[in-house]
Structure formats: structure tokens, C-alpha cells
Amino acid sequence: MNTTHPEAAAPLRCPMQGEEIPMVVDYRVLRQVSKDWKQFSSDVPFRVPIPSEEEDRSVRQLPIERDPPLHSEYRKLVDAWFKRPRSAEFQQELSRLIGEQLTPRINGEAFAAIHDLALPIQSLALTKLLGVPESESERWISWGTHVFHSNTGEHHGQALEDYLNEQFDRAEQEGGEDFFALLSGCEFQGRRLSREELLGFGNLAFAGGRDTVINSICGLLGHVAEHPEDLERLRAEPTLRAGALEELFRWISPVTQIGRVCPHGATLQGLEVPPMGRVSLNWARANRDPKVFPDPNHLDIARMPNPHVAFGSGPHSCIGATHARALLRCLLDILCEQKLRVEILEASREHAPSPYHNANIYRKLKIRLRSSGI
């Protein structure tokens, strides 16, 4: 693959875990690399995320940590399940549970949006995605905003694995109609999935859409607080809402970057990557490539064209994207239709200690919800 283009932005060289990892920031190059799975592989457990996650989990996440064609076979097992949020019935349920979280807070006290609103909404929405009782969310909420580590960096991925083992034990004994039973009962290449494979699917279902969805919810709340004129326009012009959310996802880029491993080495924009060396694909920077997105730091709710890569690109594009889009759409619809206003009392965003961090993620967001006119 030729990754050399005359106008392409050069990769960054990022020191990480004892390696200097080339980080792709150019949109065109990123799209090429993300589909060239033979040279830039995902078939390496724990090392697709950067930093790698050997200390956070004991299993290979599925389907993401496989390459085609095996990846496609694994993905096919759960693809239809992850598309269920497209249905009107599913979205009604999402709207109900979001409404139940929002309503008691309208015209009430200020609250911490990340922990007290976004985390419960994400966890409750996940119960819908997995088809389990809403009460399960209480345990998930207790894990905090990231399933693998606390805000102070303490690892607690074992709590998730213990939980998943309990769920697959139950599903294997009792059956049922939830995500765990679906996986336990499905046939793959003429056999049942092993426990390791089951845990791999379960692990990704919990880890993949956790902080990413929470950051998206807070990003939406923060943006409409800072730009009430955008919320007014979306209230008046509902046909703009779907595109506005795509722009929000571009602007936030909740998955900043992800890795690939080069089994045989590679040359990336003139940089030599050694065999088994890693490269990073920086979706957030590609989403700000000024050659593709004019005025890229501006969130323009009517931006067009908008071929963003916030949900990745190529065969490994985000399997949870349907759910994330449906959830954010339900939240935006409620904000519009109930004529709510969001006021920020205190906020801090992730500072940018290096060029590859995403500056649009809140670390603290204290807000108040108002009904219009109060």
C-alpha cells in the first residue's frame, strides 16, 4: 500500500510503553491503513488499544481483535443484535429511560453530569442493548465511568470478568433471551463458542461503549449549554438533528485513537515499522484534517460534507455505533421537545498534554437543567 501522498500530514512519533509508535493523523492515510488489515493487523490480543490492556483483562476482545475473514464470521454472530436500536420500539424504551433520568432534575439542584446522569443513562441503555433487567445497571454503575480502571488509575478489570462469568454460567444453565444466552447458544464453525470467546464478546460489549458513550452524552450537554442557539435551531428544524449528531461525534471523537500491529513490519509514510511494531490511528486528528473538514475545530451543526471517522473506518468500524447514535438522538429529541436548557456551573475539559489527546472530553461537568422560561 502506498501511504505517501504529497499533501499528507506526517505521522506523529509517540513514545508509549517503551516504543516510539507512529501515529497516523492524515485523514486519507488513516482510511487506507484502516482497511489494510494484512499489513496493519488487529489480530493481536490486548495490543489493539494503546496503551495495551494486558493488565486489564485476560481475554482477547471479540470480534475486534481478529482480522477478516475470521473477524467477519465472529461479527456476523452479533451484528443483527447490535442493530436492534434501529427499531422504533427500542428507541421508545431509550427515550423512556433517559426521560426518567432527566425529569427529576429539571429545575432542581445542580449535579455532576458525568457521574450522576451520563453514567446511569449509559448503563441503563446497555441493559436494553443486552436485554437484561434494568436493575443490573446498579452493579455496572458501581464500577465507575471506565470499566477497567478508576480515576486514579487503579485496575479493576477483574470485577467485569467475574460478572461476565456469572452471566455466562447462568445463561448456560437457564437459557433465556438476553445477549449472554444468545452467545452461549449460538453455533460457530460447527461448535459452541468457548468460554474464552464468550468472555471476549462480553468484555468488548462493556468496555467499548462505556466512557465513549458517557463522553458523547456530556459533549452534547456541554455544547447545547454553550450554544443555546444551536439547540433552538434543532428544535425548530428537526431534520437537522441527525446531521448535527454526526457533527457532534466528529467534533468529540470519543475514541481518540486505536492501534494496529504490523506482523511483518511496514513502511508508513516513509517511517519504518519493525515486525510486530505498532502504529496508532488517530481518529480525532483525522476528524480535524483541514483538507477534508474546513474550519475543523468549529462544531457546525449543518456541516456538509461530513465523512467523519468517529466510529472508525474499514472492517473494524464500531459495532456499537447504532446504539450510540440512537441513544444520543433520543437525548437530543428530549432536550428539544421538552424545551430544556442546560446551564454549566463548573466544567473542565481534558487538557492537551500532548498533540494526540482529544481536547473535547470533559473531566468535570457540573450542570443545571432548566425548562425554558424559568
Binding site: M304, P307, R325
Partner: protein
């Protein structure tokens, strides 16, 4: 009422009668394989890529800038590529046939 036929990469023909809405909405409503419409029809995802046979290109029209922004970066895009979320079904398109592009690579 108008009908439209989707031809999958495996040459399976799926004809939908009384078709109303965008081609993406029609395809996803009938579970046409290879048409996902992930972004909901706002030209942000390119998961509803089709190719228009020569006989229909004039009536269907050419790709917008929003569509072309994707095609510039897709290996399987061609002159007759369209994102079918941008094609509204109408009586004038009765009998339309489109080829589902399928995945890249």
C-alpha cells in the same frame, strides 16, 4: 406505485413494490444485505453505497458533494457510485435497478 430492484454483490435480486422514501430507507426496511444506512441518511457513513446502471444514470442524477467526499477515499467507488440515502424514490424511477456495492476490499 413505483418498484425498485436491488442487485446484491452475489447477484441476488430483491424487488420491492410500492416503494416509498429514500432508497436507503426502503432497503433497510426490507433488510437488503449490504445496505446499512448507519448515519440515518445524512451522508456521513457511506454504508448505503450503490452503483447505478448506465440506463438509469440520467434519471437518477449524479452524486452530490457530500457523497463525493466519501468516494474520493473508497477503493470500490466508480463514476456511477451513489449513496442511496440521497436518492428519493418516485414514479419517475419506477422499475429502477441498482447494484449494491458491498464492502470495500
Amino acid at each position: 406505485m413505483a418498484s425498485v430492484t436491488f442487485i446484491t454483490p452475489e447477484q441476488k435480486r430483491i424487488t420491492i413494490n410500492h416503494a416509498v422514501g429514500s432508497l436507503m430507507e426502503i432497503a433497510t426496511h426490507h433488510d437488503v444485505e449490504g445496505i446499512e444506512g448507519a448515519c440515518g441518511g445524512v451522508c456521513s457513513c457511506a454504508t448505503c453505497h450503490v452503483k447505478i446502471p448506465a440506463a438509469w444514470q440520467e434519471k437518477v442524477g449524479t452524486a452530490s458533494d457530500g457523497e463525493k467526499a466519501h468516494f474520493d477515499f473508497m477503493d470500490n467507488a466508480a463514476e456511477n457510485s451513489r449513496l442511496c440515502c440521497q436518492i428519493e424514490m418516485s414514479e419517475a424511477l419506477d422499475g429502477l435497478e441498482v447494484e449494491v456495492a458491498g464492502e470495500e476490499g
